[in-house]
């Protein structure tokens, strides 16, 4: 019988740091890793010598080894599982499991990248599996894979471009209060649907930003958490799931969140109604819509109605989301949005979000990510976090 980390005493997020830069022209990726590691450890009140487990994805070098040496860590547990933007939520799950198993007590998770400074787009061949040989002549791109999911959702459920636009509108309402956000202007539904079409039915303003920087988290054992001055944010539930089209049978209107969310909620012993704030990886507006449905915040097919009622806007709706402005407006370091979702959830649970977007009595929050290609193959990861 599987024993969850929560049942074994749990693990706590005690350090969270988002790099303030959005354009790192003069800093290397390795340097950014060091800066976010320092930021998260200082936030926790710990030093690099306390770290005995290290998690990262897509770092320079062979797996985690080069950055482990670069930072001078002596980890007993490492994990460089790379499932795209959701990797860092999955790392929190794995860190909690390793802590519960007694394998380590202070886990450091880092993300850093500079796609904006380097002018790089994601190179599909870097991630080439056996499927790519059957697909490369068709010039698939990341945005196209999310656009096809949106088109299918519109076909099956009558979802509209205007409804999707509400997700960007909500993010922009929050981003105006974030001094570090890349885009701080509040936009309207009309501005979203009148922005240039990128891949039908997704417009430019349905797409997240490209930024440099990164972030880091520190996850520790209950004993370490008790010794620190910071508010304790417990990893109450976690789930992950790889969804794919297995032999060519796609179901583009749902994601791995159906499984990862159910597992996280079951482990936490809570339901979607208990969530005060949701931080959901918003690579594109459609990523959020599908996640909201799959996680159970609304019925399948009713996501458009849910978001167009303003439910995602803090102070107005019943599920404030991405109160930092999310990837759509604030930050999307290294083309990977999972890290910043956990960081903003931790801010909310500590009561350290911007006062204009802080959710009152925020005791339970959710962080969720979709890494990879939603229309075909991706990894969903969900965390339920609780303030103690």
């Amino acid at each position: 019988m599987f024993t969850s980390s929560a049942q074994r005493g749990g693990a706590y997020v005690v350090g969270a740091f988002e790099h303030p830069t959005r354009l790192a022209t003069d800093k290397s990726i390795a340097q950014l890793h060091a800066e976010v590691a320092r930021g998260a450890l200082e936030d926790a009140g710990l030093g690099i010598g306390d770290v005995d487990a290290f998690f990262t994805a897509d770092a320079p070098g062979l797996g985690p080894i080069a950055i482990v040496e670069h930072l001078g860590i002596k980890p007993k547990i490492v994990d460089s599982t790379d499932v795209g933007g959701s990797s860092y939520l999955l790392h929190v799950n794995h860190a909690a499991l390793a802590i519960a198993a007694g394998k380590c007590s202070v886990a450091l998770i880092t993300l850093a990248g500079r796609p904006r400074a380097e002018g790089k787009t994601i190179v599909a061949s870097k991630f080439a599996g056996p499927e790519v040989g059957f697909e490369s002549p068709y010039r698939s791109q990341v945005v196209g894979m999310y656009a096809m999911a949106a088109a299918r959702h519109m076909h099956e459920y009558g979802t509209t471009a205007e409804q999707l636009a509400w997700i960007k509108v909500a993010a922009s309402v929050h981003a105006q209060h974030n001094a570090s956000a890349l885009l701080r202007n509040v936009v309207t539904v009309e501005e979203v649907v009148n922005s240039p079409m990128v891949a039908d039915p997704l417009h430019r303003l349905d797409c997240c930003v490209i930024t440099d920087g990164g972030g880091a988290l520190v996850v520790v054992s209950p004993e370490i958490a008790r010794s620190l001055a910071r508010p304790k944010v417990r990893v109450r539930g976690a789930g992950e799931f790889v969804k794919h089209i297995r032999g060519g049978y796609p179901d583009m209107t749902s994601s791995g969140a159906v499984v990862s969310g159910a597992q996280a909620f079951a482990e936490a012993g809570v339901t979607p109604k208990d969530i005060k704030c949701a931080c959901i990886y918003d690579s594109f507006t459609i990523s959020v819509l599908i996640a909201l449905e799959d996680l159970g915040f609304c019925e399948k097919g009713k996501g458009g109605q849910f978001v167009s009622e303003g439910n995602l806007i803090s102070g107005i709706g019943r599920l404030p989301f991405n109160t930092d402005g999310g990837g759509l407006c604030n930050n999307h370091p290294s083309n990977r949005g999972g890290m910043t979702k956990v960081i903003e959830a931790v801010r909310q649970l500590r009561g350290e979000a911007h006062p204009r977007v802080q959710v009152p009595s925020c005791d339970i929050a959710l962080a969720h990510g979709t890494g990879g290609w939603i229309a075909s193959r991706h990894c969903s990861a969900t965390l339920v976090l609780e303030r103690e």
Partner: protein
Amino acid sequence: MAETIQTDVPPPDVDLDNEQFWAAANRRQLRIGQCTKCQKAFFYPRHFCPFCLSADVDWALASGKAQIYSYTVMRRVDKPYVLAYVQLDEGPAMMTNIVECDFESLRVGQIVEAVYVTSKNGSLVPMFRPIDGHA
């Protein structure tokens, strides 16, 4: 089936996992996986069945008839093109491009047929076009 010259199509990356598929495409054949043990059809074809892991599989000839499962027009390029998944009459769906079409008239569920498009190195790539009356 007609041949279309569309020279901006990247050539396939032929390797041990897909050489039979691309050799067949050059003969204007669309090959899919067919398990002789559990009877399921699958795409992409491979040397085993992704449903039961049996090695007893055929690279079966598909009819080339399909319908659009979903599609998008990739606009931010010099020459926009249609990326799609089409569901083959045999069951499985495949990624492809829809060609010889009016972008604005495309619909999910539209009936399409295979057409073989010449890629940059001259090898043929199966794509799909609307059947007359739907274009």
